[in-house]
């Protein structure tokens, strides 16, 4: 009964459920943050600074994961930070995906001058160091939620465009595209109906990867203090604050870091899991 194929499918399923579970939990926490978070994430209490997490001696009841140097609850700040992280992941990921995939499809399938223009743009874009480019962009646009999203889209659309272009090119050489042409289908119709469904699994994988990357970029920008105002809790901001007191209070750094790690990992695994499950060729 346990042949190789069913084993693979079982494992793919587990991966999908674990990553979707973590992201689902995070989404619920983010949506219900004001009601779920045990403390006000901004409330400071200097008498309760650097309290350790609950299993260590000297922990303060009610502060499960300890407090930072200003006495703010680490758990509540992580929960509130999930709102910004997920918002950036979804909005920036989706916008990057739509723009990059459209340009990639056009370049790869229509070829000709569209390909020429888009490919040269990709080449130019890839010559910029991405982190410096994003910092420069934010410096120009001014810090804020929309600046972060715009920066991610502007930098990362090439990731989609490059891969989707290559995929669309290889799909475009298939006989079924020729058959569609013979049958009288137009170029746009062929692109949307014949090519797009076949590059969709790749788009899904890239989209989830991009969501993970968006979370990381937001954290990096928070880390260098270029994200939204430093009062609002962000994972990157917490990591930056925790770094200065790593020897006295490791928990301020480690818990947001673990959350970030699990979230980015879950996004990439979600994409792979979805692909394994829904790609008709692999299924």
């Amino acid at each position: 009964m346990l042949d190789g194929r069913s084993m693979i499918r079982r494992r793919a399923g587990l991966r999908l459920w674990l990553s979707a579970g973590w992201l689902g939990l995070l989404l619920c926490l983010a949506l219900a943050a004001p009601w779920i978070a045990p403390k006000d994430p901004l409330a400071q209490d200097l008498f309760l600074g650097r309290m350790p997490p609950f299993w260590q001696a000297g922990a303060e009841p009610g502060y499960l994961l300890g407090t930072d140097s200003l006495g703010r609850d680490v758990l509540s700040r992580i929960i509130h930070g999930a709102r910004l992280a997920l918002l950036v992941a979804v909005v920036a990921g989706a916008a990057t995906c739509v723009i990059g995939a459209c340009l990639g499809l056009m370049a790869g399938f229509l070829r000709g001058w569209a390909d020429l223009v888009i490919s040269r743009m990709i080449d130019i874009w890839m010559a910029f160091p991405p982190v410096l480019f994003s910092i420069l962009l934010i410096a120009v646009l001014g810090p804020g939620l929309w600046s972060i999203i715009i920066a991610i889209v502007v930098i990362d659309w090439t990731r989609f465009a490059r891969v989707i272009r290559a995929e669309a090119m290889s799909q475009g050489a298939m006989d079924y595209v020729a058959s569609a042409h013979v049958a009288g289908r137009g170029r746009l119709g062929t692109m949307l109906r014949e090519i797009l469904p076949n590059v969709l699994p790749t788009i899904v994988v890239l989209l989830t990867l991009e969501m993970g990357i968006a979370v990381i970029v937001e954290a990096i920008l928070s880390f260098v203090n270029l994200s939204i105002s430093s009062d609002d809790p962000t994972w990157g901001g917490m990591i930056a604050e925790g770094r200065s007191s790593i020897h006295q209070a490791w928990w301020v750094l480690v818990f947001p870091l673990i959350t970030l790690f699990l979230t980015v990992l879950s996004f990439s695994q979600l994409g792979e899991g979805l692909k394994d499950r829904f790609d008709p060729v692999l299924r």
Partner: protein, 298 residues
């Protein structure tokens, strides 16, 4: 009056060498014409040019393609595509890449009828089921719901044949339809194509490199070498006495089961050299004609 008439078709790579050199061929209504040649002779290119699916790097330098009384090359692109879609169809070479892996079989046959020819969905589905039964597919209703990867290569080629005949085209271009299949399945598929062609009275341009296949399926044949027509004859005449030295050598090179001791005969160097000399002479004549015209224009 032939249904398809290709006149003096010359194809070349953009700013590059010629792929076809003034190729002319005719297919009468309901006739099967074989198009034979070795790899790179340009036989698939003729089919692609007729169906308007030439690769982007290939351009038509000269010629006319008359389909059902209209010169396709004189039409604007949208009108040309509409005309081809309504009268012609393709049986592709590789059944593994000719069906879209993301769609079920049913829609791949019916969508063309519904969206491009304006049939109702019920009519199109009924038609597809009839055709699948006609190409001997067991349980057509189930197969309509399958994805291509769930079916074998032979099954997929049957589906492609059914799909090609779906809109009752008057011309079908079969581009080496049996090359990707193993020998036992090849025979069934050939018989199937021949049977379908006879029943539907479709003109068929059968591109192949296999003279054995031509002798079974075709009425007339055209032999190509290096983009030039070297012989155009009826199949009975050709197999009785090929006129051109290259066709004779090609025919002699076909292995014979009755005489295994004869071994495999290659096409002799002297023959290919003489055809190649013809090709080069043709190219020189064409180039000097173009140069003279250029000088006259300047």
């Amino acid at each position: 009056m032939s249904f398809l008439s290709v006149r003096n078709l010359t194809l070349r790579l953009k700013n590059g060498p010629r792929l076809l050199r003034r190729v002319s061929l005719d297919v009468a209504p309901g006739e099967v014409r074989g198009l034979v040649g070795e790899s790179g002779a340009g036989k698939s290119m003729i089919g692609k040019a007729i169906l308007g699916i030439l690769p982007g790097a290939v351009e038509i330098a000269e010629g006319e393609i008359w389909l059902d009384g209209t010169d396709l090359l004189s039409l604007p692109p949208t009108e040309r595509r509409r005309r081809i879609g309504a009268t012609a169809a393709l049986i592709p070479q590789d059944p593994l890449t000719a069906l879209n892996p993301s769609h079920r079989i049913g829609p791949q046959i019916t969508d063309r009828l519904v969206h491009i020819l304006g049939w109702s969905r019920t009519d199109a589905t009924a038609r597809a089921l009839d055709l699948l039964a006609e190409v001997h597919i067991p349980d057509p209703e189930r197969v309509m719901r399958n994805y291509p990867h769930e079916l074998s290569g032979g099954m997929r080629q049957r589906i492609l044949i059914a799909s090609a005949f779906a809109a009752e085209p008057k011309l079908i271009v079969a581009d080496e339809p049996t090359t990707a299949l193993d020998v036992t399945v090849q025979k069934q598929i050939l018989r199937l194509i021949a049977g379908m062609q006879a029943r539907h009275q479709t003109a068929l341009l059968f591109v192949t490199h296999d003279l054995g296949v031509v002798s079974k399926v075709c009425q007339r044949l055209t032999v190509l070498y290096s983009g030039m027509v070297v012989e155009d004859a009826s199949v009975t005449d050709f197999f009785a006495a090929p006129r051109h030295a290259y066709s004779a050598a090609l025919l002699a090179a076909t292995p014979k089961y009755t005489d295994p001791a004869a071994g495999l005969l290659p096409v002799p160097e002297t023959v290919t050299a003489s055809v190649r000399a013809e090709v080069e002479a043709f190219d020189r004549a064409m180039d000097s004609a173009i140069n003279e015209r250029g000088l006259a224009d300047g």
